[in-house]
């Protein structure tokens, strides 16, 4: 499988990763290489095999639907690059 520059640009946009135009060729080459490597899986017969979503042989535990944490706004905001009046600050999203 070979990825072209446009595909790399699309994936990078989906992943919200800015990629410069002059990096696209190199990245397309690297990613194509990796995809070619993983494509060997196509030769494995997996008919009737259930996908393995977890190696833990257990059911997801349940707990009572009650608040167990909270009242720590300042702790949560302590690492925020920008904050104001107890809120995270983001660039304007609504015109």
């Amino acid at each position: 499988m070979s990825l072209d520059k446009d595909t790399v640009r699309t994936i990078a946009n989906l992943a919200r990763l800015e990629v410069r135009d002059d990096e696209l060729d190199h990245l397309a080459g690297e990613l194509s290489n990796i995809m070619t490597f993983v494509e060997q899986l196509a030769e494995v017969n997996t008919d009737g095999v259930q996908p393995m979503t977890s190696v833990a042989a257990m059911d997801l535990p349940r707990r009572p639907d009650v608040v167990t944490d909270g009242n720590c706004r300042d702790k949560i905001l302590a690492n925020a690059p920008e904050q104001q009046d107890g809120f995270f600050l983001v660039p304007k999203v609504v015109e």
């Binding site: 899986l41 259930q50 190696v55 833990a56 042989a57 995270f88 660039p91």
Partner: protein, 492 residues
Amino acid sequence: MTKLTNLTMADARKALAAKEFTAVELVDAHIKQAEKAKPLNAFVTETFDLAREQAKASDVRIAKGEAGAMEGLPIGMKDLFCTEGVRTTACSKILSNFVPPYESTVSGNLKKAGAVTIGKTALDEFAMGSSNMTSAFGNVENPWKRKSDPSVKLVPGGSSGGSASAIASRSVMAATGTDTGGSIRQPAAFCGIVGIKPTYGRCSRWGVVAFASSLDQAGPMTRSVRDAAIMLGAMAGHDPKDSTSAPMPVPNFEAALTGDIRGLKVGIPKEYRPDGLSAEVQALWDNGIAMLKDAGATPVEISLPHTKYALATYYIIAPAECSSNLARYDGLRYGVRVEGKTLDEMYSKSRAAGFGKEVRRRILVGTYVLSAGYYDAYYAKAQKVRRLIADDFAKAFQTVDVILTPTAPSAAFGMGETDDNPVTMWLNDVFTIPTSMAGLPGLSLPGGLSADGLPLGLQLIGRPFDEETVLRVADVMEKAVGFNALPAFVEV
């Protein structure tokens, strides 16, 4: 008397109880050694002052007879474990200023057991790498040197390379590691120490910076098998905050070291002898098999037919999970932020500035294999092959009790000795990844030295939640190997 920095934790614990020295003296001796070994760059953040305070508190508890299982023992904490009030970077630029307001369960458990952390150890960025060369805080050096050319700087392996280097250089007695595809076992092999990745679910993942959540597992790295048993006991345990944490009691792992492995069946997988495997590694493995035979165990040839697909499966599943997990780094709530005109531009610029090349590569691969139209062909397919790999092990364990393989296909390599193809670097983990895919416990211990004077590791793989058998066999092998070689930076 043995130098304080050359003691095992088991011996130091006895000596502390017998008041032969204090925890403050023990911790100070290691801080001094860490300062001497500073050129190795094993630590991202040193917490020497905090450690001295904790050591004083340990001495008080020892005097009162209230010592925990690791009271006063100086350790390193992989910088992937969130530590309250102490910067936690995952060796990424994007977290270079992150100070967690909470403590990970595992580091908290170790603190409760009395362990004293003298610093946060370096890793490959977000634990993605096998050389420690993807860290945003510089390469870590392996204290071991080639006989043929001691001037070559060798990698400590990765991703837990800072922990391995710090232990081998006697800067700490032990350290935490995490293992997603071999990140405890491969650096343990490269640095001549012991490391065990426990069964998935044995140690809580809560508060550990996530890479690939269905694979990540924390474990101890130490200089002896007994120390690994002690430390695993302190780290492990059910944690309601991690829904995949196993609700099982923690056995007394030390009690499993009976020295008796007579009658055990040891699986020798024929697929781990690929063409081109170095004669040296083959000989090491054969020697390990002979040791087990001498101790009364029976080697049995087994087949794990899907072994050759494990690497490709891993490099779909791990990047897929990584791309999801790392979506949280948005420059908004924590970490590095680069301004943009719009919210999306801020995300894209922050992430481009904050992530290194290997992490970026894996996020892109992961995003691609999860994207519409490709999900079934790649991700779902990999999940199916993953089940076949796990089934291979389950079948083998119907006839054998434990499996023996080499840990890595080579000894530590030199910085810059690999080519630019990322797939070549990934081959380092070819013997460790299948165990991770199946969630099984795997331990690496030193099996001997290469002709060029570098440590080589042997791997023992066990049934789910049977770390006890793995440790019991490892303890017997450790005695048979009698590994006592020392790296540079270490004086007897």
